[in-house]
């Protein structure tokens, strides 16, 4: 809420304010009107404090008694009373009187030249005056009436006296009462004749019906007592009418006191009576009138002190009047003690005739404890002849509420007042459109420094104080207010004292009755805000300049440093209104400083020449401040003398420097120099902000200078590295993004054989490289662009045609701004190394070649030997079946022994080649070590015995697990090797084998297998040499004992492959013990491979037609012989081509296909059979290439099964049987090496079922048949589901199948079926899944078939 003087003026037109000296400062219009100009006058000159009585003006006292009502009396002749309260405004130290003149009548008001409109509409006095006025009017009427009445009354009295002489009746009576005399008056009064009256009794004449009997009796009593009397009675006339007669009776005595006669005067008082009645009636009316104007009407009779209250007294609720009580006394007793004096004084004033009317306000205590304000007014209505009042009549009015609202109003005023006066901003009001000031809040005086009156009087004043540059704002305001009805402007003013202030003026049109009546507004001093804004702006500008400079510096090209520094000096110098800006470097070592950069404003002389190597003693103040990290500032040179700094003055004054600032430039703790600014033309005071920002600038300078230094260092370093490169005979070449040479060092030129001048600026690639190398380089430069550095080799052809090999280390090249500008390469001539390397490569290739040759040799040898061996063994077997004579049998045995021996040698060689090629793999399957040992011993016993040796198992550690996981075939091979060697090299004595447990861990066992003999032994050297291949200890040994010499080395390789080790203890001539140490995982029965018995179905084979394809006649014969014995029809072909032809011609059930044949090999032939003939006839691959991955290779090429040559008869029949089983011929599971005849493992087992049923054959039979049926169905379903890619169906079927597979221990597929179940949905028909499907189905079919054949 904004409260202004205008509000004050409206609410308290009679307010006035005093300062602490009691001097009036400002005041309301009412005071002005009543008292004229009072500003500057002292309170005591104008007023005295009427009430509380005895109070003297005391600023402090009045300040703290705001809740008191004061009555002030003006010291003017009119002695006007002012009623109100003082309000203290501490901010302004003013005491304001808030009140109004206290008039008891309109006339009084008028006599002060005031009208009601001079008062605030809310002023209670106005109401009061209106009331008083009304009452006055009534009282005036009343007075007039009473006056008239008094006059009439007097006149009546007079008349009556006159009439008594003339018209009053007189009667004389004798002692008995008879009338003795009557005058004319009585006769006129009564209408009787004299004769009719005389001698009669008065009673008989005058007494009538309405005559008061009591009055008559009184009169008679008085008559007979001879006493005087005076009575008023109704007296009848002769005609029967009556009149009011006042009867004065009196005894007339003679001087002796004897009765003469009774004198009676009869006055006709009817008229008097009428008047009296009228007065009475009037009084009643008057009373009623009064009662309307107040709550109670009272009447005071001074003669007897009686006071009467009208019934309305009851209206003062809570005050009960007893009828017997004197109302006046009661009233007084209820009066508030503090107010009692009012009534007493009032009474006295009346009695002493000082006043004829009164008006009081006082408090009455209610019986309920409440308090009521009463307005008591009265007026004299009757006076005694001396003019003193006899009777006063008046009213009591309840003004409690009125008082309360007054109080509230005062309270509000008080509040408003404090706000208005506390306001620093100016609230004003002006007429519209002529903008004549109506009102300002007092703060205007402070703002404009013009007093309020002047402001109000002179409209043009405030225009004048507007800053010349902002004068236009008035027109703007007027325009704006006309259009927008309000405005807000900021402008400057210059006060009379010359101060510049920023003012914000806001205004708004106030519309009254639809017309723009006035403009109300506010003026705010925004100087401080503007100053802050300006400061901020200047700070911001400086900041912006710094930011600009810093951004320049950040990306500065160091070549431009000088120029940029110069530019920034200028920029900052100009900003701080300096005329010279400069940078000095301190050389603290030599105690000097030198100017390094200088900028001068126009007309200012340059000093840089004169300020080189200035001794520091010349500028001690600078150094002192700077070494502390502080700026050196001279605000005003002129003042230096006063400050006692003559020295400094002497330096600066001659240069005409008024102000200067020099900011230290420091890096870490090191003082480098300073940047300074001289103000020559004007004086400049640096603000804290400016100084801070200049420090930032100084820091930037330090930074950029340091960078420059660093850059210089880098350049030097670069130089150094270039030199190093040159000296190290490294060719350095820098090219740009277009591969144009930027720089090439001398070494490069020599390397390239091209002089520098021919290189620089040319495109290096075009100049130096052939097409092939160019491509390499283009790729390299592409990778440079992605920031990749690397090294590569390049073949370079020198201009003279010589080829050189270069190793080039290339890296992207960036400039200072981190932009890629090209690449840089360091070239090293590696031609010599390259030659060496090429030589090595060639040698290695040769080595490889020879190795391959060896492998091929072995492979070929294997084939070449095996093929005839196949025939030898096969035919030998066949021959052995014929009937031979004993000699023939001996020969036969010899042939077969030799053949077997040869086979061992071949196997050794093949093993070795496998080992060398890394193709030997070690299996992890379950095996029974004890069985293995027994088996070997069984195998070798015959040989040992034939040499007469003791051969036995020396130790068979019982702690060795029943089942271990490992490669039984290889262990077998190792032991056979060792044993056969031992037997071979032992002529007499014994050969033993031991199996010892060395370590028994939770999951593993480590064991030693030792073969000991009492043979020839080996010497230390041979053992240490390691068992070189193809070497036997002594070539004589070879001759003596035979063998390939490969055994031990193969053994060692195998042991190593199995993660084991081998130890030999041997003594020449004494014997040898070879130990191998191997660790195996522990296993159980379920880990044992299930090896099905060979399934041969002679019935199935019989009558079938089989094509035997082999280029080797013996092989064809072996196969044919075997097959023919089984009543198979044979077709023959010598190569693939023939086979295809034959198949086209006749129908066959199966093909035995040799793989390596002239004209067309087996692979090609099979391809044709499958693709061209579209035949799915089973093709069994026969090959002597029994290398590791052969089987998979052939299976992938469309073969149905694989047999390594030489094959055993039953293997062949087994394979054929399986293939002929059905359309979906199963693949033959991988054949085990023949060297070991593994214990036969069943492919399925009924053990589980037997266990469950205690061997109940019925149950087993039922279950087997059940399995057969369900599995057959499942196989069909599986195939169908898999083919139609219903993989989830496959999964479910596999799942269902799982338990039965497990129950029947179909080991081959029990894991696979789990794998199929879990993998099929995600993998679909992947290679693995397809394989699993095929294999599982095949195995199932086999089992089904087997169950069938076994006839459970």
């Amino acid at each position: 809420m904004e409260v202004s003087n205008r509000h004050f003026d409206r609410i308290f037109p009679f307010h006035f304010a005093m300062n602490s000296q009691g001097v009036l400062d400002f005041y309301g219009p009412g005071i002005g009107k009543m008292m004229g100009e009072v500003k500057g006058l002292h309170f005591d000159d104008l007023f005295e404090i009427e009430r509380p009585t005895g109070t003297l003006f005391d600023f402090r006292l009045l300040s703290i008694t705001a809740d008191r009502t004061y009555l002030l009396k003006s010291k003017s002749s009119k002695e006007t009373l002012f009623r109100g309260q003082f309000e203290f405004f501490p901010q302004d130290e003013v005491l304001i009187f808030l009140g109004s003149p206290w008039f008891s009548s309109i006339e009084e008001l008028a006599s002060n030249d005031l009208t009601i409109s001079d008062f605030a509409p809310l002023d209670p006095l106005v109401d009061l005056l209106h009331l008083v006025k009304n009452q006055e009017l009534v009282t005036t009427d009343l007075k007039e009436l009473i006056d008239t009445m008094s006059v009439q009354k007097a006149r009546l009295e007079e008349l009556s006296y006159v009439a008594s002489a003339n018209s009053d009746g007189i009667l004389f009576m004798d002692e008995r009462g008879y009338i003795t005399y009557v005058n004319e008056g009585y006769l006129r009064q009564t209408g009787y004749e004299a004769a009719e009256v005389l001698g009669r009794l008065p009673l008989d004449l005058g007494k009538g019906e309405e005559t008061s009997q009591s009055e008559v009796e009184d009169m008679l009593t008085s008559f007979f007592k001879k006493e005087s009397f005076k009575k008023e009675i109704k007296h009848y006339r002769k005609d029967g009418t009556w009149f009011w007669a006042r009867i004065n009776g009196q005894v007339v005595l003679n001087r002796k006191g004897e009765f003469l006669h009774f004198f009676t005067l009869v006055e006709d008082v009817s008229e008097e009576r009428k008047s009296q009645q009228k007065v009475l009636e009037f009084e009643q009316v008057y009373r009623k009138v009064l009662e309307f104007s107040g709550d109670n009407v009272w009447e005071l009779e001074f003669r007897n002190g009686q006071t009467f209250f009208s019934y309305k007294a009851q209206n003062f609720r809570g005050l009960r009047f007893n009828e017997l009580e004197n109302a006046g006394k009661k009233w007084f007793s209820q009066l508030h003690p503090e107010d009692q004096h009012l009534l007493i004084e009032n009474d006295q004033n009346y009695k002493s005739g000082k006043i004829s009317s009164h008006h009081l306000e006082y408090r009455i205590l209610m019986e309920n404890g409440g308090l009521k304000w009463v307005k008591d007014r009265g007026i004299v209505i009757e006076r005694d002849p001396k003019g003193f009042p006899v009777k006063i009549i008046g009213t009591h009015s309840d003004i409690t509420e009125q008082k309360a609202s007054e109080k509230e109003l005062l309270h509000l005023n008080k509040k408003l007042g404090s706000i208005l006066n506390g306001l620093r901003d100016v609230i004003w009001s002006a007429t519209y459109p002529d903008m004549k000031a109506i009102f300002f809040t007092p703060s205007v005086e402070e703002l404009f420094e013009i007093d309020m009156d002047t402001m109000l009087k002179d409209n043009s004043l405030w225009r004048e104080i507007i800053h010349p540059d902002d004068k236009g704002v008035i027109e703007e305001i007027l325009r704006e207010i006309e259009v927008k009805k309000d405005y807000s402007k900021e402008f400057r003013i210059i006060t009379p004292s010359g101060r510049l202030k920023w003012v914000q003026s806001k205004g708004k049109i106030i519309v009254e009755d639809g017309d723009a009546a006035q403009v109300n507004g506010i003026l705010i001093d925004i100087t401080d805000r503007k100053r802050t804004e300006t400061l901020l702006k200047s700070k911001d500008e400086l900041k912006n300049i710094l930011i600009e400079i810093s951004s320049t510096y950040i990306n500065i090209d160091l070549k431009e440093v000088d120029q940029k520094i110069h530019a920034s000096l200028k920029k900052i110098g100009e900003f701080v209104t300096a005329d010279r800006a400069y940078i000095f470097d301190y050389n603290l070592a030599e105690d000097t400083c030198s100017c390094t950069y200088e900028w001068c404003a126009e007309g200012i002389s340059e000093e840089i020449e004169n300020t080189q190597n200035v001794p520091l003693e010349f500028v001690p103040n600078w150094v002192e401040a700077h070494s502390k990290g502080e700026p050196f500032i001279v605000e005003d040179t002129a003042q230096l003398l006063q400050m006692g700094m003559e020295g400094l003055h002497e330096i600066l004054e001659p240069q005409g420097i008024q102000s200067l600032i020099a900011i230290p430039m420091r890096y870490n703790e090191e003082l480098l120099g300073f940047v300074g600014f001289d103000s020559v033309k004007t004086q400049h005071t640096y603000s804290q902000k400016e100084i801070e920002l200049l420090f930032v600038f100084a820091q930037m300078l330090v930074n950029v200078q340091r960078r420059k230094q660093a850059r210089t260092r880098i350049v030097k370093q670069e130089e150094k590295f270039r030199n190093i490169i040159t000296n190290m005979n490294l060719g350095l070449l820098e090219v740009d993004l277009e591969e144009k040479v930027l720089h090439a060092n001398q070494t490069f030129c020599l390397m390239a054989g091209v002089p520098t001048e021919e290189l620089v600026g040319k495109k290096a690639t075009d100049l130096l490289l052939d097409e092939g190398s160019k491509q390499i380089l283009q790729e390299k430069s592409k990778s440079r662009k992605s920031g990749i550095s690397d090294s590569y080799e390049l073949k370079y052809r020198k201009p003279d045609g010589e080829y050189r090999w270069w190793l080039i280390s290339g890296a992207p090249n960036y400039n200072d701004k981190n932009e890629l500008i090209g690449s840089i390469g360091i070239h090293l001539d590696i031609t010599e190394q390259k030659k060496l390397e090429e030589e090595l490569m060639r040698q290695r290739e040769e080595a490889e070649k020879s190795k391959r040759a060896k492998e091929i040799f072995f492979a070929n040898m294997s084939h070449e030997i095996r093929t005839p061996m196949n025939a030898i063994v096969g035919m030998g077997d066949q021959l052995a079946k014929t009937s031979l004579n004993p000699q023939q049998e001996r020969y036969m045995a010899a042939i077969q022994n030799s053949a077997n021996h040869l086979m061992v040698i071949i196997k050794d060689i093949l093993d070795l080649s496998k080992l060398e090629a890394g193709k030997m793999t070690i299996e992890s399957i379950g095996f029974k070590p004890v069985e293995l040992l027994d088996h070997i011993v069984g195998m070798m016993t015959a040989r040992a015995e034939s040499k007469g040796l003791d051969f036995f198992i020396e130790t068979r550690d019982p702690r060795v697990c029943d089942v271990l996981i490992g490669d039984p075939i290889r262990i077998n091979q190792i032991l056979l090797n060792l044993l056969s060697n031992a037997i071979k090299f032992t002529e007499k004595g014994e050969v033993t084998i031991k199996m010892e447990l060395l370590e028994d861990a939770e999951r593993q066992q480590k064991m030693a297998l030792r073969v000991r003999d009492t043979g020839i032994g080996m010497d230390e050297g041979f053992i240490q040499k390691g068992f070189e291949k193809y070497v036997q200890e002594d070539s004589t040994i070879t001759r003596k004992y035979g063998g390939t010499g490969l055994g031990l080395s193969i053994t060692q390789e195998l042991v190593h492959l199995m993660g084991g080790s081998m130890d030999i203890v041997s003594q020449k001539g004494k014997g040898t013990e070879i130990s191998i140490f191997l660790s195996f995982e522990k296993g159980d029965l379920s880990d044992l491979p299930v090896d099905a018995p060979k399934y041969i179905d002679h019935e199935l084979i019989r009558g079938k037609k089989i094509l035997v394809v082999d280029d080797n006649e013996f092989n064809r014969m072996v196969a044919s012989t075997v097959l023919e014995q089984n009543e198979v029809q044979i077709g023959l072909a010598t190569n693939g081509k023939e086979a295809v032809e034959e198949l086209k011609k006749s129908k066959y059930d199966l093909v035995l296909m040799d793989m390596q044949m002239p004209v067309m090999d087996g692979v090609m032939a099979t391809k044709i059979i499958r693709e061209d003939l579209k035949s799915d006839i089973p093709v069994v691959a026969l090959t002597a290439f029994a290398m590791k991955d052969d089987e998979e290779k052939y299976m992938a090429q469309g073969m149905s099964a694989f047999l390594a040559k030489p094959f055993q008869e039953e293997d062949l029949l087994h394979t054929i049987s399986l293939l002929l089983l059905g359309k979906d011929a199963p693949m033959i599971p991988k054949k085990k090496e023949e060297a070991v005849s593994d214990p036969p493992f069943a492919r399925y087992s009924v053990e589980g079922l037997e266990r469950l049923s205690n061997g109940n054959p019925e149950f087993i039979s039922k279950m087997m048949n059940l399995f057969k049926d369900t599995a057959s169905a499942t196989v069909v379903e599986l195939q169908a589901a898999f083919e139609s890619e219903k993989f989830d169906e496959v999964r479910k079927l596999a799942h269902r199948l799982k338990p039965s597979v497990k129950m029947l221990a179909i080991g081959e597929i029990s894991e696979e079926i789990v794998e199929l179940e879990s993998g099929i949905v995600s993998e679909g028909n992947s290679e693995r899944m397809s394989y699993l499907m095929t294999h599982i189905i095949e195995e199932l079919q086999w089992v089904i078939q087997d169950i069938n054949s076994k006839d459970y």
């Binding site: 469950l1252 149950f1259 039922k1262 479910k1292 799942h1295 269902r1296 338990p1299 129950m1303």
Partner: protein, 128 residues
């Protein structure tokens, strides 16, 4: 006291092989009144026979074992249901337990001892 062996036992499984195996085992431990069903619905229809034990397959082609388990437990909470699965999955086992199957049987490792122990556990629980 209820002697489990005198009450009917149900085997619900669509794999006749497994059903036969289990039947054999149950006969082996003295249960004679064995009813076999190929799917859960048939089993539920015969639940009035008041079986003491139900061997329920988890994965049948026509019904979901878990679903059937809930239905069985809803109508006959006192019946002991053994969940049979070829899945070696703990989750199924847990789910089965949650749905009120007291035990579960892995088809791949089943032996008559396992089933015997299982039934005797039930029996002792009943006694207790």
């Amino acid at each position: 006291m209820k002697n489990l062996q005198t009450f009917p036992a149900f085997i619900v499984d669509d794999d006749p092989f497994w059903t036969a195996i289990l039947e054999q085992i149950l006969i082996g431990i003295g249960i004679t009144d064995i009813h076999t069903f190929e799917d859960g619905v048939d089993c539920l229809e015969q639940i009035h026979l008041n079986p003491a034990l139900i061997f329920l397959d988890y994965q049948m082609s026509n019904s979901d074992g878990l679903d059937i388990l809930q239905k069985i437990k809803a109508s006959s909470p006192e019946v002991e249901v053994v969940f049979c699965t070829a899945l070696e999955s703990l989750e199924v086992a847990i789910a089965a337990m949650e749905f009120g199957s007291a035990e579960y049987l892995l088809k791949s490792t089943v032996t008559d001892e396992v089933v015997k122990e299982l039934v005797s556990t039930f029996q002792s629980n009943k006694v207790a």
